[in-house]
Symmetry: C2
Subunit: 151 residues, 2 copies
């Protein structure tokens, strides 16, 4: 059983536990993200699926599927790049905390990581001082990855 298959099965069980279903189409979209080493746009996934599976994926469906996968925490939406990535913790059993992302603006490679509690705490304090409140702790930063920075 390939690693991809293992991850998909794990994801399927997890959905089932949540009372939702990881359908064939949803699996195929998720596979597209799992096999990519960089963030993909919804339309890139449409193209990928149409080419790979010789089946019709309408953009509308892909957006709906991505929304579902995001709710299930299998996928993250990067608001700064209008792109999607598979969760790096997708095969883990631990509960997922709100992640932060470093996005390479050159090649779209993404690092999903967790900023330290203390740093996050000081950000939140400074936001509160400005009389705003965070709607999400998901923070996205435009970066260069190692290889793009070297080039």
């Amino acid at each position: 059983m390939s690693n991809l298959q293992k991850i998909l099965s794990h994801a399927e069980r997890q959905c089932h536990a949540n009372g939702s279903r990881l359908t064939e189409k949803r699996k195929k979209v998720l596979s597209g993200l799992l096999q990519s080493d960089r963030a993909l746009s919804a339309y890139e996934l449409v193209d990928y699926c149409n080419k790979t599976y010789d089946e019709t994926f309408a953009a509308m469906s892909v957006y709906r599927i991505l929304e579902f996968l995001e709710q299930e925490q299998l996928v993250h939406k990067l608001n700064l790049a209008n792109r999607y990535v598979a969760c790096v913790h997708i095969a883990c059993d631990h509960q997922h905390e709100v992640p932060q992302f470093l996005i390479c603006t050159d090649c779209q490679r993404v690092k999903e990581f967790s900023i330290s509690r203390s740093t996050l705490g000081s950000i939140k304090r400074q936001v509160e001082q400005a009389r705003f409140q965070l709607v999400s702790e998901q923070i996205e930063l435009n970066c260069l990855c190692g290889s793009c920075a070297a080039a």
Copy 2:
């Protein structure tokens, strides 16, 4: 002389000092942002200008003008919201540092502020540990403003 007029003159002098020109069209787009209490999309500015000035502003022109105004640091582009705001320091003489933004996802009001040096420092260190590097210190956070949070 109204406050708006003062700011526009100040901006004009500043452009002149930089060897660029704050043309009539550019002034009008900038005025739109100065008179708004929230971030506007390029197309909202197109509509605003067309209605207010009985003159044709093509979307293309507005995008070019916004790019110019951003270069001159008179305006900031919010990548997280695909919107634009006038710089809150537009009437200041001090040199502008890279700002951070809190964006209300409900009403698009924006707080331009500066995160503390030490917090920014720890963010940068953690980014470096992940072998990425920031392309910009402009950080944008999705928030609720005071009044939207209350409602």
